[in-house]
């Protein structure tokens, strides 16, 4: 069934601040994930320039043979993107929920420095709960 492969969060300058993979397919080591994140940041920025219509907000969905990539950019430039199986439903909603978890458990944490890698226990716990719920919901359909 449809499943999530991995989740990335990149800060406004393109640096990777959070990476989590949920399957054995496409597991990457730290350096590769950093490279991929900054690659995506650049592609996202270039796509905004390439658009024939003014006011483009960048790539939201990338569909390939073996995976889909959904991207959500917040108003502050922080990007959340998830790599999943082709045809997975409700990824947009999932990204919005993850954004809410980010604002709650990362931004309200006094020990988190802005734009630095995320090391917040509560964020990890709640993220696992959310993805777990999502997985159960997807299997159910």
């Amino acid at each position: 069934m449809a499943a999530i492969y991995s989740l990335y969060i990149i800060n406004k300058s393109g640096g990777l601040i959070f990476y989590k993979d949920y399957g054995s397919a496409g597991r990457m080591d730290t350096n590769d994930s950093l490279r991929v994140a900054s690659l995506w940041h650049s592609m996202h920025a270039i796509s905004q320039q390439l658009s024939p219509v003014a006011g483009c907000s960048g790539i939201e969905l990338l569909e390939a043979d073996t995976f889909d990539l959904h991207c959500f950019q917040s108003l502050t430039g922080t990007k959340f993107f998830v790599v999943c199986e082709p045809g997975t439903q409700h990824m947009e909603a999932l990204l919005k929920v993850i954004y809410e978890l980010y604002t709650d458990y990362v931004l309200k944490n006094p020990f988190y420095e802005m734009e630095m890698p995320i090391r917040c226990e509560l964020f990890d716990i709640n993220l696992s709960l959310t993805v777990q719920k999502e997985r159960v919901a997807l299997l159910g359909r």
């Binding site: 944490n109 006094p110 020990f111």
Partner: protein, 194 residues
């Protein structure tokens, strides 16, 4: 016109009656403000013990004022003179006003006569805070411990109050315990009162 009531105009703001105040405050607003308080104090200190002390002092100021307000507003200007009375006041009334619910439990310490514990599954101030591993046993609940100390001190029950994480089996997050250790004179007075 006959029968129309006139709203009393107060010339001095100190004469106005104390209002109930807004019952609901934004949790997010408080969380950000508290986060900023912790961050500000972190820049001013060198070690964790000092940071805890500062948070406690900030809470102490809140506690002293909260006692005055609640005595006037909720208790009709009556004063608590017994130990259990002031403890249940803190456990229910103060908690209800500050955090919207009564505290989870109030227990008497088994090892020492002068120790009491107020437990909470998760303190409201700690809801969004994850302590990094290298800060050891630091607990932002020191702010709440300071509030309790402020209330007890101003009511005439001097005590040492600290906040601790107590790991629970079967639960990922530890519960928080506010440990209250009363001064000698309080116990002596309590014994005298019978």
């Amino acid at each position: 016109m006959i029968g129309v009531g006139k709203i009393k105009q107060y010339s001095n703001v100190l004469d106005k009656p104390l209002s109930k105040g807004k019952q609901e405050v934004s949790l997010s607003a408080f969380a950000f403000l508290f986060s900023e308080l912790v961050q500000y104090n972190q820049t001013q200190v060198d070690n964790i013990a000092e940071l805890e002390r500062r948070l406690e002092d900030a809470g102490y100021a809140v506690g002293a004022r909260v006692l005055e307000l609640l005595c006037h507003r909720d208790k009709g200007n009556r004063r608590e003179t017994r130990l259990l009375g002031i403890l249940s006041f803190v456990h229910s009334t103060v908690w209800k006003v500050l955090f919207g619910k009564v505290a989870d439990s109030l227990e008497k310490g088994t090892e020492h006569e002068d120790e009491y514990m107020i437990s909470e599954k998760e303190l409201l101030v700690n809801r969004f805070i994850s302590i990094p591993k290298d800060m050891g046993t630091f607990n932002c609940g020191a702010f709440v411990a300071g509030i309790v100390r402020g209330v007890l001190d101003s009511a005439g029950f001097p005590a040492v109050v600290t906040a601790h994480f107590v790991p629970m089996e079967g639960q990922q997050r530890p519960r928080t315990t506010i440990l209250i250790k009363f001064a000698e004179e309080v116990l002596r007075r309590e014994a005298r009162l019978g």
